[in-house]
Structures are given as C-alpha cells and as structure tokens.
C-alpha cells in the first residue's frame, strides 16, 4: 500500500487539509473509489476505511492482479467533517458541484481539480454518495442517463437494484458526470446511512465493491456475489407525498412489501396528538426509499415505491 497526498490546501488557522489516496497494486489505473465529498458523509468514509483495510490484506497475500492498480480516496473534505458541517467550511459551497474543478478558481474548485486530475484516468470510478434529504434507500447503484452509462457493468456490484435517472442541469458539475465525460465507467453506490455508521450496510457496500473488482479481473477474491440486480428507471418509481405537515410516524420500512391501501405512515398533529393524515400506498410494491425526518413539511416526498404485480 502506498499513501499519497493528492492535494494540499494551506490554512492560517488550521493544519493544512490533505486529500489522501491509498494505492494498491501496480500498473494500469484500474479502479478508483472516492468516499466523502461532504462533511456529513461519515458512512462513506467508514466504508472506504474498511476497503483500505481489506485491500491491504489482499495486497499482502498477492491477490491484487498483476498490472492492475486501485486507489481509495476516503475523503475530499475532512475540514468540514471535523467541524460537523455538510458543505465547505467557509463559503458553504458543495465540492460535488464543482467538478471538473479549476486550478486557478475558487477554493472548492481547486479542491475538485486537485482530486479530479488524480482520478480522471481510471478505467472504473466508484463514488459513495449521499442524497440531499435525510432518508433510507435499498442499497443500489445509481446511474445518470448520459448515454455513456453501462447498466450491465453496474449489475456486477450484485446490489439488489441499479437505478437510472435523467440528467438535470446541476448534475453536470458532479464527480460522477465528469468521470463519464472523461471516459471512466462511473458508478455511485448508495447505502442507507450518511451521518451515522451502519456496519451491516457498510459491509454490504464493501462486498459489492470487492465483487465488482473481482469480476473485472482486478483482484482475486472469493465472495458472496450478491443479487442479480434489477434495473429500475426513475420514472417507474411511484412517489408518495404528504399534503400535511406534522410528526412523521413511519409504519413501513425500506425493502418492505406493501399492498395498495396499506398504511405507510401517519402524520400526527404535534400538539394535540391527533392523527391528521394517513399515508396509504397507492400501489402494490416494494419500498425503495423513505424519508427519515421526525417532523416534516407539507409536500415532502415520504416514500418511493417500486411497483410490482404481486399476484401471489
């Protein structure tokens, strides 16, 4: 294992911030794995630390295939994590909206550039990302419909789902999008935690990445190969919103099967304790996402459901 400082930012008031890469094997730049770009992505750093630990063991046993190299970058934004902020510590900008970066630009553009120039020539790029709202997902690989996405390859992670959605204007400045433009096969892997550590889903994500690396001939590793992933398109999901604000009392969890008319959640008046709204499932299906805030605004999307036929 080689530890390399990819980028360093000087500061008058703090120790310099370093972006560190952990490199395994030699030769072709085969796979790069990036963890947190935001300060609350603790689970993402945790998953990377597990990968660094395991890849080091594999390297010692000679299990990194010859001529292949892997780099893990656990965090691009340690400054924000150390002070409990999500976005950049001074100007609150989002590093994952600054790619491909600019070496003469603003601070976060320089950080993005400092990372990107070190990772843009890898064959495969894997990012552990997070959603802008608090919530839980079934673990999945998320792809954007850029025309460059490779769905079959995404299934090699063996996660239950590969999720594909349309590109929005602001996506063009994310790491994933720019990787694709630079001809890296890019994947975003989502698990169900962000600002907490869930060791079970972290283990699942680690296994998914190792399984993927094995199938691409980058490592030798016998593991549980996971699921035969199913592709779901963003527009296929059924969104369930609340029209009412209040306490959000969840009655259905991620991955649970629901029938049309089943109770998904209750909205409770925070002072009287009365149930003011019952959120029912509009379809038969599987819960793909649920929001996790204890109190919610009106118009909040609470659930996203994968519709199923469910004749049994």
């Amino acid at each position: 294992m080689e530890e390399k400082t990819l980028f360093e930012l000087s500061s008058v008031y703090r120790k310099n911030m370093r972006i560190k890469g952990y490199i395994f094997g030699n030769g072709e730049h085969s796979a790069c794995i990036v963890g947190a770009t935001r300060g609350n992505e603790v689970q993402q750093v945790y998953i990377c630390s597990r990968l660094v630990n395991i890849l080091e063991q594999l390297e010692r046993k000679g299990k990194i295939c010859s001529g292949k190299s892997i780099m893990v970058v656990p965090s691009v934004n340690s400054y924000s994590m150390n002070i409990g902020k999500r976005f950049w510590s001074t100007d609150n900008t989002d590093i994952n909206r600054m790619f491909p970066g600019y070496d003469l630009g603003e601070t976060t553009q320089r950080i993005a550039d400092g990372l990107f120039r070190n990772v843009n020539d890898y064959k495969y790029g894997i990012q552990f990302a997070s959603f802008y709202m608090q919530g839980s997902f079934i673990p999945h690989v998320r792809m954007m419909k850029t025309g460059l996405e490779d769905i079959e390859l995404a299934k090699d992670f063996g996660l239950p789902y590969v999720f594909r959605r349309d590109v929005r204007p602001y996506d063009t400045t994310t790491l994933n999008y720019n990787w694709q433009i630079w001809e890296t096969k890019a994947f975003s892997v989502y698990t169900d935690a962000t600002d907490t550590i869930n060791t079970d889903t972290a283990a699942e994500a680690v296994n998914a990445v190792l399984s993927f690396l094995k199938k691409q001939g980058i490592i030798e590793y016998n593991c549980h190969e996971g699921y035969i992933s199913k592709l779901i398109e963003g527009h296929e999901l059924v969104n369930v919103k609340t029209g009412t604000a209040g306490f959000f009392i969840r009655r259905a969890e991620v991955n649970s099967r629901v029938n049309q008319g089943d109770l998904l959640a209750e909205i409770v008046d925070p002072y009287s304790g009365r149930t003011i709204d019952k959120i029912l499932s509009p379809v038969n299906g599987i819960v793909f996402f649920h929001a996790a805030q204890p109190v919610i605004y009106a118009h909040t999307p609470l659930y996203r459901i994968i519709p199923t036929d469910d004749l049994i």
């Binding site: 603003e106 320089r110 999307p301």
Partner: protein, 309 residues
C-alpha cells in the same frame, strides 16, 4: 393588495407563505395589461433588494396617479432564509436558484419554485435583485446570459446601473429563475449589487431611479424619470479574476469601482500569527475594480477582485 402565492404547512403551528404586493393603476387611468415584477430574497443573506422594494413603493405612493400599469413586488422568495440569515433554503441546504422551474409535484422547495415561475410568467419584465454574497462587494450591474442578449441588453440599459456583464451560458445555470423565465419568453434581468447582509442605500436609490426609467419605457409609469446612466457593457473576455494564492487576512489598498494600472497594489494577505505578509497582490492589467473582496478571511482560491479591462 398583498397576496399569498404559495403556502406550505411547517411542522409546528406555522405556515410558510410566499407573498407579493400588487399595485394597480387607479380606476379609469388605463386598461393596460403591462406588468413589471420585482423579485428578490432568493438568497437569504442578500438584503439590498429589501430597501429597493420599500423605496419603490414609497415613491409610487407619492405619485400614484402616474401609475399606468401593474407593479408586483415579491420581497422574499425565500422568507425562511432571510429570517434565519441562511443563504439557501433552511432545512434543505439547497440553493433556491438551482431549482427552477421547479415542479408542482416535487418537494417543498420545488413546489414553491414552480408556483413562483407560474406567477411571474407573462410579466412584461421581471427584475431579479441579488446582492452578491457576504464575501464580495459588487458595483450595481445587470448580468445577462449571452443567449438572451438581444432582448435584455436594451432593457438593462434603462436600469441606471454602472455595468452590464454579458456572460457565456453554462448548463448549470439553466436551473436559475432568470433562465427559466427567459426561456419561456418572460424577459428577466438579474441585478447584482452591493454586498451580502448589508444595505447600501445609494445603490438602492440608484436602482430605484432605473426601475422607474424602465417602467416609463414599458408604459407602466407616466411620471418624471431620470436619464439613465450609460453603463459599460462587456463580455467574459474583458473580465480578469484575481484569486488568493495564500490564506490569511485580506486588507485592500484600493477602492471599489476605481481605475487601477497594471502593477498597482490591490492589497495584502496578512498573517496575524507571525506578523508577515503572506501575499502581496498587484493588478495584472489596467482596468476598473468592479468586484472587491469584502470579507477579510481568505483561503487559497478565494476571489479577491474582478477587474474589467
């Protein structure tokens, strides 16, 4: 007449309201369908537009007979942000100006964005007033996407600003309010002026003079107006950026909106611990400083100034 254009329940005993005040001509004055919309407060830390909303109405009310069209005033597109000194939408940490045109069926921020676009659609002109951020001070200017140059530059010239910046288009800007309105044929001008968290009264007065001049041009005002300033108009190529290459405390040695010559001293980045100068910053071109760092603490990359050649 104050109207609520969107209302959203908040969890505990509160409703978020996006409001506008509509001023219409006295009955019998006109049957004009002309309408100007003044919007501001998308970024909760930008306050210059608050004074403009007040002052515009004060002057209209003084000479109400001169009003010959509709004026809609939206002081706070992001009221929770203004109230809590938050640039984005509190609770979501989202930049509201990256959500347009929004979606009726989306989350709360997207729903509000779609209601706003719906209300503004069809205005004869929309003025979207921004105030930079807390870091940079800007001269009163209009920023125009090159795609809408032909429609917007003639309108912007009426606004009595010092500067019109025609910038290149970028995909990421397609989710701004101005882009979303311009693309559906509602001319929308983005004004940037002053600095975040402050009100610069003379800039506000200057812009209000300009809004009246534009209203007169559009047939919404029949009273006396000033002759607008001749703004400098430029494109990206004529703007040079100065970014800090060291961290520290920036102390300027030039004034905002003043000419500098190549080699002139712009300011220093100081190290308060060691008493050293971390970086001396000099102008790399002749020009006029139209953006100047206001917030003293800088890191590598922080924008110090923009100079127009």
């Amino acid at each position: 007449m104050v109207q609520t254009i969107a209302a959203i329940g908040l969890p505990i005993d509160e409703t978020l309201m996006i409001q506008k005040n509509r001023l219409i001509p006295k009955s019998g004055v006109t049957d004009s369908k002309k309408r100007i919309s003044i919007v501001t407060g998308t970024h909760g830390d930008e306050l210059e537009g608050q004074y403009v909303c007040y002052e515009l109405q004060r002057r209209i009310n003084e000479n109400y007979d001169c009003l010959t069209g509709t004026v809609d005033i939206y002081p706070a597109l992001n009221p929770l942000g203004i109230d809590s000194i938050t640039r984005g939408i509190p609770g979501f940490d989202l930049d509201m100006n990256r959500l347009f045109p929004g979606s009726e069926n989306g989350s709360m921020p997207e729903y509000i964005a779609s209601k706003i676009v719906n209300e503004l659609k069809g205005s004869t002109a929309v003025i979207d007033i921004h105030a930079s951020n807390i870091f940079l001070r800007e001269i009163p200017q209009v920023r125009i996407n090159e795609l809408s140059r032909d429609t917007l530059v003639p309108l912007a010239k009426k606004l009595n600003v010092d500067y019109i910046w025609v910038h290149s288009s970028a995909t990421v800007l397609e989710s701004t309010l101005a882009y979303s309105l311009n693309v559906i044929g509602t001319p929308t001008l983005v004004v940037e002026m002053g600095v975040g968290m402050r009100i610069t009264k003379e800039y506000g007065d200057q812009l209000v003079d300009g809004i009246f001049a534009l209203m007169k041009e559009l047939g919404i005002w029949s009273g006396e107006v000033i002759e607008p300033k001749q703004p400098i108009i430029s494109e990206d190529g004529e703007v040079s950026f100065i970014n800090a290459t060291k961290s520290g405390v920036f102390v300027p040695s030039v004034e905002h909106w003043k000419n500098v010559k190549k080699g002139d001293h712009i300011g220093d980045i100081l190290n308060p611990l060691t008493g050293e100068i971390n970086e001396k910053i000099n102008a790399e071109t002749d020009g006029i400083v139209f953006t100047l760092r206001e917030y003293p603490i800088v890191s590598e990359g922080s924008l110090i100034a923009r100079i127009l050649a």
